[in-house]
Symmetry: C5
Subunit: 340 residues, 5 copies
Amino acid sequence: MTVSYTLEVANARFAGFSKLLFRWKGSIYKLLYKEFIAFSVLYATLSLTYRRLLNSDQRKMFEKVAKYCNQQSNLIPMSFVLGFYVSLVVNRWWSQYTSIPLPDQLMMVVSANVHGADEKGRILRRTLMRYANLSSVLILRSVSTRVRKRFPTMDHVVEAGFMTRDEQKKLESLYSDFNKYWMPMVWFTNLAAQARREGRVRDDVALRLLMDELNKYRAKCSMLFHYDWISIPLVYTQVVTIAVYSFFTVTLVGRQFLHPSEDSEDALDLYVPVFTLLQFFFYAGWLKKQVAEQIINPFGEDDDDFETNKLIDRNIQVSLLAVDDMYQNLPPAEKDKYWN
Amino acid sequence: MTVSYTLEVANARFAGFSKLLFRWKGSIYKLLYKEFIAFSVLYATLSLTYRRLLNSDQRKMFEKVAKYCNQQSNLIPMSFVLGFYVSLVVNRWWSQYTSIPLPDQLMMVVSANVHGADEKGRILRRTLMRYANLSSVLILRSVSTRVRKRFPTMDHVVEAGFMTRDEQKKLESLYSDFNKYWMPMVWFTNLAAQARREGRVRDDVALRLLMDELNKYRAKCSMLFHYDWISIPLVYTQVVTIAVYSFFTVTLVGRQFLHPSEDSEDALDLYVPVFTLLQFFFYAGWLKKQVAEQIINPFGEDDDDFETNKLIDRNIQVSLLAVDDMYQNLPPAEKDKYWN
Amino acid sequence: MTVSYTLEVANARFAGFSKLLFRWKGSIYKLLYKEFIAFSVLYATLSLTYRRLLNSDQRKMFEKVAKYCNQQSNLIPMSFVLGFYVSLVVNRWWSQYTSIPLPDQLMMVVSANVHGADEKGRILRRTLMRYANLSSVLILRSVSTRVRKRFPTMDHVVEAGFMTRDEQKKLESLYSDFNKYWMPMVWFTNLAAQARREGRVRDDVALRLLMDELNKYRAKCSMLFHYDWISIPLVYTQVVTIAVYSFFTVTLVGRQFLHPSEDSEDALDLYVPVFTLLQFFFYAGWLKKQVAEQIINPFGEDDDDFETNKLIDRNIQVSLLAVDDMYQNLPPAEKDKYWN
Amino acid sequence: MTVSYTLEVANARFAGFSKLLFRWKGSIYKLLYKEFIAFSVLYATLSLTYRRLLNSDQRKMFEKVAKYCNQQSNLIPMSFVLGFYVSLVVNRWWSQYTSIPLPDQLMMVVSANVHGADEKGRILRRTLMRYANLSSVLILRSVSTRVRKRFPTMDHVVEAGFMTRDEQKKLESLYSDFNKYWMPMVWFTNLAAQARREGRVRDDVALRLLMDELNKYRAKCSMLFHYDWISIPLVYTQVVTIAVYSFFTVTLVGRQFLHPSEDSEDALDLYVPVFTLLQFFFYAGWLKKQVAEQIINPFGEDDDDFETNKLIDRNIQVSLLAVDDMYQNLPPAEKDKYWN
Amino acid sequence: MTVSYTLEVANARFAGFSKLLFRWKGSIYKLLYKEFIAFSVLYATLSLTYRRLLNSDQRKMFEKVAKYCNQQSNLIPMSFVLGFYVSLVVNRWWSQYTSIPLPDQLMMVVSANVHGADEKGRILRRTLMRYANLSSVLILRSVSTRVRKRFPTMDHVVEAGFMTRDEQKKLESLYSDFNKYWMPMVWFTNLAAQARREGRVRDDVALRLLMDELNKYRAKCSMLFHYDWISIPLVYTQVVTIAVYSFFTVTLVGRQFLHPSEDSEDALDLYVPVFTLLQFFFYAGWLKKQVAEQIINPFGEDDDDFETNKLIDRNIQVSLLAVDDMYQNLPPAEKDKYWN
């Protein structure tokens, strides 16, 4: 479920956002706790080894390595690399979301321009909208793991009512190496052209309007297809991942509290490297979020992902409502309150 | 009220913007004074404890911790994290604002293309515009806490004149799990189609124009629905908030003025950590503004938020003005001043 | 006047841009010289006080404060805060400029589609264009202080020939709390619809074209209205201003040349803090430019601002030229030079 | 082949992205291993020279140079220069990708609006789509080295079925200094106009729709032509390349482990400069990716490039499918599952 | 000539981009060699003065100044200031390029919709396209110094065949203070309207299409007019230029190799300040490129600028080709290779 935290915060003023810090669902804690535990265990192991197992010479060596690591870790351009990657990924994320096709425009146009209150008219309008919804289901199946799980085969799509058996056969009889999501839209245009010939679409301008709206709808499906096909180049992802992994490997050694007595008197032995853990939160959290969001599941199964299945249900529901139940079903026009 | 400070500054040249610094309404002072007091009290308590209550050994320990904190606080990537978040949020903010639908285009088209000076014609034009305004009220209710407070129930919408009782019944008789803001727009298209059949809309091109304008209007409502549904991922907000909170927790200790005598002779004991307080202003102020603006109330109730209610009033007012009072109500065409 | 320095530089190659450095009009020197003098005087006063008036103990104290200030001034995140603000403001600036409506598209469409070489036809075309120009004047009056000064009252608009007395009366008889810039555009649509009925606009497609172009024109006016209504949140402006002010207050003390003898032998006593003055130029110059540009006068009265009045004159002039003088006034079509 | 790594990662949760690190195809290792070996060999040679061949005085000199290099290498603004270049190039990359024309919209419009199930009708529809695909092949030939290799001459285009011999002759009989990719689109418009005259396109609105869709298609071809014609200015590429090359030349010397005994006791002699190699990965990897991606082959032959040839095949295949096999070939309209 | 280096690099893999480093044309070396020599001479003069002419006391003073300069040069926010300016200018550069109007869309529409194979029809189509090309020449004359040189007066435009004498007279008889580039487009619309009346444009929809395409073309001319009229505010250019100039003035002194003996034993006397020269390359090169590109000649005469004249020739050539030679000149439609 997309995690919506708007309402929760709306009444908190002073303590402010502290509430947000203690959410579990969709939170950074849930995202990262396994990695965090692993990192802590490794750090503790190293720390114990240094304090208990090493002899004096080994400690000296360890201390040299630790100082070297700590000082050289600045050579890893973390903020540069992450900053670039983060803004790349977040922009993709929002663009992908706004590329999900919604049938709202199309259904209004169908409702107003495809006429006939008889059964054939009703079937016609419903079928047009079903084709549009079917197309989006077909493309979402290949984009979103959630939708793929809901509709593992075409039979599931038929059973869910998005397609009839006849349509399934027709679709399968046409051969293409690539995703066939565009086929129901060709049916849509052909059916609309047929409705024009039968006079159910009353004029050429109205037919054009149907075509235009369908094209906008199709353009969004097409963008999803692109985003799915062209990933962010692997090289970027590898550079970022190597940077983050090597940085934290280095800090495992470099941020150990060295034997205080051998250092200046200001040195402090805290046992727990608070600031390194904080850094881990910031950098590893963002990396994981980014890579996860982008590569595994922009339309995936995280708490925080788009609820594509819910949206699919909403779309078919409102489509049929708009073109069937609401067709020429108008409240009476009367004088409004400001009439004078 | 949206705080407009343009005019105030317009005549100040030299002293320049100092005037802006002493505004209270919508200012950073009003936004932050509670947090500022809390931070100052905590700092003072720690300072007093260190100076009065600790014995010599405890002071040494405290000083060690303070130095460690001060030096490690650079590990928190404040400007990187805030910079990213700030630009993300500000872009959303302006996009949301420009997504608020204005009826200006629609009302001009209705005024020029839906004909009839008789009562039925007037009702028709007014009803069309009322439907458009109703849609925006319905979506704004679920987006803006201000509008929600003004119209807590549908009855309030009816009483305010945006909807008749009949329309309310119709709306409630149609079932949908999701926001029904799009329904009055379906009525709009059906009513426009009916007006075309009755000849009040004189040709197909004009009907198409009505449809096109309605679709642009609807697209904006739809963007508001998206912005409401998909928040900025919680993880980003948490990372930023943790970064800011932990940074200032650390400075509480790390920026204490340590006992001067034990330090180099240059050290200064100012009691008030001026620069830390300035930093608090910059970072905490921006964070609070950002989170507040984005999550609680882009269309919320702060001094600085969109005045959605005022805009709703303006919209219905100018809508009715344009399609009714101004319908075919033209000043006489005459020769202009440059005629020669 | 918008300062155009393109031509001046076009022939300078080697010495390059040094020429640009010695411009006064619209320059950073003109913008900043008052603040620069004030800053210098304050610095000199402090310097003299330190060198002449303080006794030995006071000097020591002063030196401590100065060192502290100098070192802590890095805590003020100048480049982060300014960088964010600068890019925010510059984007707004260019968007605002491109939002100024130009009548060029509209006048071409009117010239080609509203027919009749008789006096009534001429009046019709001229009136349509006058309405469009009137709308832009009305919105620019509330956006640009320059235009406001030129047209302080509606009477001035009438006298300038943008409106007739009848139109003024009509406009004032319609009540609205908000800017009425949209009203002449409603007249435009109604007048165009009337011209269609009279056959002066020959077909529905042409009428639609007129409507479409008017809508694009109106959309730009509407963007100006938005930019005027919604300022950049005050909090951002305050944070930036406080940052810059406090930074330079701190440098007044922290960049003093301390008594050389008491320091290391490398220390230099230059009396004039060259680099601090340079920094003042960069940071204060940009801030002032930004805030000034954005808040006081994007369409204001600086040397460097949009010449809105000149643009208004150009617009009405070319509008009338295109729809009246050039109406069906074509050069003879003949074979061109490349005809074979 | 565009490297798609989405599915591979989809089931990995904890170990996370480590899988991505061990991919070879399209990876940073494949991209960079030659340069990496060269760099390592040079470093090792220098290191051996210093340790084995130099006498004591020469070592001293070498150490001086090394320290100087190490310390001055910060003067090279690597992250500034690379950051700018990277964001410039990545934006171009994605824009170029989305500029590849897809025939999907066009084919739907042709299928619905160009009528006739007879042979002549079929030829007409197929020819229209072939012209559109031919145009994109012609422009892609001059943009993508892959496509150029597949179609080295126009004869290859003919043989692949995108053009007939007659068309080839016609095309070659028309003289132009520039790419003639736009010519088949002129044929398209003329053929569509002819089809309108013959009544196969039934009304003016449908013809307009064909023109509009063709124009959108053409606009994309035109963008490809621009991107090909205007490279990123050479100066930028040179600055970035010089920066990266000089940086790594400097580190060859400056990051040598100097004779430990002559330094402080903390110094460590690791022989392998781990962190410098990491930096090499980050900076050189990104540079090479950028320059490679942008200049040699946005549509080139790397593992990670657009599969333009595959896309060309897909496009002609679905084009013919949509306008021929699917023409008026509709599944029977029946009641859907939600009918009640 | 726009420097295209794509092909050159396409076959270089390992040695990679080193080839790019040794280009002269359009390179950073050509751009900067004069400034580079000047800088080097000044540096050498100062160096010689210090080493040969100064006595011991003067040297001490010089060394103090040099150290002060070197250390304070960090106060000049080079990367912040340049980074901002660079991204501002590069975005303008690309936007300007894509604003150059191309007649491709227009010519297709004219070819398909303006009928008549007789002489009058040919003249009509050619004249329409000539008007469009004339407009772009008129606006490019005031934007590009190259085009201005080619067409210093209107007579040159006539001689080049873009305009007839009659048209020139007509154009000059109409008075306007501003650029008259829009006038031929008004002729275009009037001529198109006349062609509609004469039946050469067969329907209203086709006329509308002509108008729409002309408007898109005009919009691009209009953007060029804007970019020409509104420069980047002078203040920004001055700030950047001052920053770069003062930075390099400072380094002239601050980066001198000071008398080694008086410093620590690590100091090195290289005579040639390699890194400072590198910095000069990066910063001065970018600045000069930016300012040059933007202010003097986005459409100027550098090696690397848009070849506006070549584009003008291409445009008129393809325009006439498309509307005259290719008018209804279709290859025979036949069965394609995939027909089965």
